[in-house]
Symmetry: C2
């Protein structure tokens, strides 16, 4: 399979060619995100996704037994990764960078789609997509924040007691709360204000 | 009307007697909360509420044109009030008391019903009930927190820059986040830990 040799710089095959493995999977996941953006969770069908990916319905069902499984995977795969900690040498700049990345993930196509799915789907399905948020956004950004704070402690910038689950939760909590309650879109200026008014006073040694 | 003279200590009339005004309204709102607790948002009907309040459907529709209006009013009226600031003389104890009241409101019958309605209803209706949370819980507790912090500044306990919307949002943000993401029920010990690890380090002069 071509796709198992990613180093080979073969051009993308025309749609009519037979795609297999990861290439076809990627096309299906992309088509699912396209469908979410255009017809929403309610309008998305396995047939529509198959058509969008120029493949057959069977190829979709072979990999994903349900619409929930397919959409959860599409959102997960499309989300910008949040698991690498910035390392600018200073805790303020690192926090700023983590928040910008979280904001960018929230407003990425899969991030927007995820929130609109949650808005539209029923309660049972919502639990499933809630888990995508927890595993794809909350857990990695919390790990990264913990690392940034830890490094600040080692440099003497941050008080040692600040490495606590409560303190680490403050930034994700603020981002969730002000997004939901105030409809904040977290401009760079608002992120900076949050770090200067809340983050730094809370952490400083 | 008896109900317009609340100082008169008349015993509650038997259900068969003709109730009017606030007394009947209260009975209908209580019946709506009962229905929410037993059959949920999906099962609640205007007929069921009328039966629960031992009145006619017309008496319900005369006051509330729809199920949404009735339930929103029932939740609002049943919610424990959060608009009075505690005044223990110290910011730590005041914050602790505000958080306990918010926690108690979250776990009151209307608080639990409100969250289960939000879980169950469609997106359009959810906006309506979201507003009940904002006006009935978030706005009053934010006002009270601002007052508590302000008083702390006047006593020299709290740094003056802490009277900022970002800082005031931290406690409500933590309560929302850890309730949603960690399933926290906010025991007294967890509230104390949040105040000692986050609230006080953030506020202290």
């Amino acid at each position: 399979m071509t796709a198992s040799r990613p180093s080979a710089p073969t051009p993308p095959r025309p749609d009519s060619a037979r795609r297999r493995g990861p290439v076809l999977e990627r096309a299906i996941l992309d088509a699912a995100l396209d469908q979410l953006a255009t017809v929403g969770w309610g309008g998305l069908t396995m047939e529509g996704v198959a058509a969008g990916a120029r493949t057959g319905k069977a190829a979709v069902y072979r990999r994903w037994p349900s619409k929930e499984d397919l959409v959860a995977d599409a959102l997960r795969a499309g989300m910008p990764p949040l698991d690498e900690a910035p390392d600018s040498g200073g805790v303020r700049d690192d926090l700023y960078e983590v928040c910008r990345r979280v904001r960018d993930a929230l407003w990425s196509a899969p991030g927007v789609a995820l929130r609109s799915v949650l808005h539209e789907c029923d309660a049972g399905t919502a639990e499933r997509f809630h888990a995508v948020i927890v595993r794809g956004m909350i857990e990695p950004s919390t790990r990264v924040l913990r690392e940034v704070i830890h490094r600040g402690v080692r440099r003497g910038e941050v008080r040692p007691e600040a490495v606590s689950d409560m303190v680490v939760d403050v930034i994700p909590a603020m981002m969730m709360y002000r997004t939901k309650v105030c409809g904040s879109e977290w401009t760079d200026a608002e992120i900076a204000r949050m770090i200067d008014e809340v983050g730094m006073p809370l952490l400083r040694a």
